[in-house]
Amino acid sequence: MSITVKNISKRYGAFTALDGVSLDVRGGGLLALLGPSGSGKTTLLRVIAGLESADEGVVLYEDEEVTHRSARERNVGFVFQHYALFRHMSVFENVAFALRVRGWKQAKVRERVGELLKLVRLEGYEKRRPSQLSGGQRQRVALARALAAQPRVLLLDEPFGALDAKVRQELRQWLRLLHREIHCTTVLVTHDQEEAFEVADRVVVMSRGRIEQVGSPREVFEQPATAFVMDFLGHVNVFQGRVRNNRAFLGEAVVPCPDYPHDEERLADVYVRPHELDIDHRAESPASLAATVLHVHPLGAVVRVQLQAQAGDHSLNVELSPERCMDLDLKSGDRVYVAPRRARVFVPDYSI
């Protein structure tokens, strides 16, 4: 079942949580809303669920408008950040809740709850209270509870935020498998880039109540649409330079910039990821920058080299393979050349 959101705006007093957001979620897909805190991702999820009403805009499930329907009528499965399990009920009754309020017969309730507890691998825990479960187990009870009444969409608010790294890792993989099994349209909110990339097949990057970019994890990472996306997803080196005639100038270095064919010279930011920079002892290309090695940090699979660019006193981070680092034999204080294999130039808007 697909979800369509059109032009949703939501304000809390002077604060704009959502600013004209439009989005399509494909039926059966697993989409992640990714952004820093305050970017509006949780508000958008709550608007989709009907737990929050938008000031403007419409929400459609398939072709049916649900903007003014309450959460109760929308039949969604919502998993809260801190699970919100009913503390006075057993695991069984928690999962059975949605069925009980729908007036299911006891025998059918028992059958369905058994099915769900099997799905989330919590058979034998029926009689436990939420307070007697670990974080990961609570999360799975919350999922089973949300799935009980066969919701049309499954919405997860920072589902793994309160768990430690190892449990989080396991649950992510498990969620992927679960999604493959139940094929329920799923929207997940997270501030963790790794989590979004690992679990979702589409990622929506949000910032300050707006959508910055929508795409597959690969697209978003490889072709960031805006400087914000580039900056938010992983480490990045930022250079201030000037652009003119399809080229960007960083001191004496020249980088191609096909997006700016104009004669007029402008200031621009050039973004280069640490693994897209190369170090050499000689200037091999016109894009090379002279720099001094400050530190070499071996981090296992990669070696991070911290350098100081000679032009503009700019500090740089470069990630090299351990082999390449061995060949270069880098030491603190070495004078080397750094060349970007790939750079992205973001020219500030003309309107400014």
Partner: protein, 332 residues
């Protein structure tokens, strides 16, 4: 480590809940901390106490005991002694032989529960509004709730006389329609409800804030109607807090004197509640009768105290559970 970081990064429920729970347990905590002091001083500190001169230790202990005896134990025991001094038969006759005393007991058993029910309904609704929603006038409402605590009961009674009395705003209209409020049971219920209004609300607001709105929202998202949400999720979470508020409210409602005195008109056999009856019997030099009624009130107070400490112990256990809960969440 990582989970601590995320807990810091998202300023959401667990730490806040912990804070609320701590706030809520303040009242309960006092005996806890004093207990801890005693236990903690078992080591060095109490060793030092053991070397205090015996004179100091004994005189301080005796002074404390003397004050306790004179101020609390003797008066309370004396109430029962005076009441029962001439035997159970006389006591029984003093309580139920007098038509007016009988009526006073019955009236208190009508007025207090009615006021408590009114405050229960109002208290739950009001605490819900204040704990769950942010609306203009919320701060004013919070202050207004406390007003009955700061208005002297006699003044509260007068306010109702000025409203419903014959010279008051509604007096003539009420008389024309044959409705009696002043000098009748409705008036007694009204003032009692006014005087005891803050108990349930004040008890429930911190409870509801500590629990947070998420379980309610979860119930709605799972398809529960408003009533289903309330009875299946909200009520089980707040019921002990409600009971605590109700017990305090009831104790105050039964013992209320000043406000009731003003609006009752003091008509024996019609508007005298138990505290008014105690005073009237005493003024009539019927000391045994007055003490008999007083002993019933005192007994109810002792029952209230027992219930209250039982509930507090229970609540403390639940808070401890909730706190380990929160810790478990942060370090699973």
């Amino acid at each position: 480590m990582q989970s601590n970081l995320t807990a810091l990064a998202s300023p959401s429920a667990p730490p806040i809940r912990a804070a609320h729970a701590a706030q809520r347990s303040k009242r309960v905590e006092e005996p806890l901390t004093s207990l801890r002091c005693v236990r903690g001083s078992d080591g060095k500190a109490s060793g030092a106490h053991r070397h205090d001169p015996w004179l100091v230790r004994w005189s301080l202990t005796l002074a404390a005991l003397a004050i306790l005896t004179v101020l609390i134990i003797v008066p309370v025991v004396n109430v029962f002694y005076q009441a029962l001094g001439r035997g159970v038969a006389v006591y029984w006759h003093n309580l139920f032989g007098d038509r007016n005393t009988r009526h006073a007991i019955l009236l208190t058993l009508t007025v207090a529960p009615s006021a408590v029910i009114a405050n229960l309904v109002f208290g739950v609704a009001c605490a819900w509004a204040i704990a769950r929603f942010r609306f203009p006038g919320r701060a004013v409402l919070l202050t207004l709730i406390d007003l009955p605590f700061s208005v002297p009961p006699v003044v509260a009674g007068l306010m109702f006389v000025l409203l419903f009395g014959l010279q008051g705003y509604f007096g003539p209209w009420l008389r024309d329609h044959g409705i009696k409020i002043l000098f009748a049971t409705p008036g007694l219920i009204l003032v009692t409800a006014f005087v005891t209004l803050p108990f349930v609300v004040r008890e429930l607001i911190p409870v509801m804030e500590a629990i947070g709105p998420e379980e309610d929202l979860a119930a709605v998202s799972l398809g529960a109607s408003g009533w289903q949400m309330f009875w299946r999720v909200t009520w089980p979470n707040i019921r002990w807090g409600v009971l605590y508020g109700v017990i305090l409210c009831n104790a105050r409602a039964m013992g209320e004197f000043g406000a009731v005195y003003v609006v009752s008109g003091h008509i024996a056999g019609r508007t005298d509640t138990m505290p008014l009856r105690v005073e009237k019997l005493f003024q009539e030099y019927n000391t045994p009768g007055s003490f008999a009624v007083a002993s019933v009130l005192t007994f109810l107070a002792l029952v209230t105290l027992a219930l209250k400490s039982w509930l507090e112990r229970r609540e403390r256990r639940e808070i401890a559970e909730a706190l380990t809960d929160t810790n478990a969440r942060r370090e699973p």
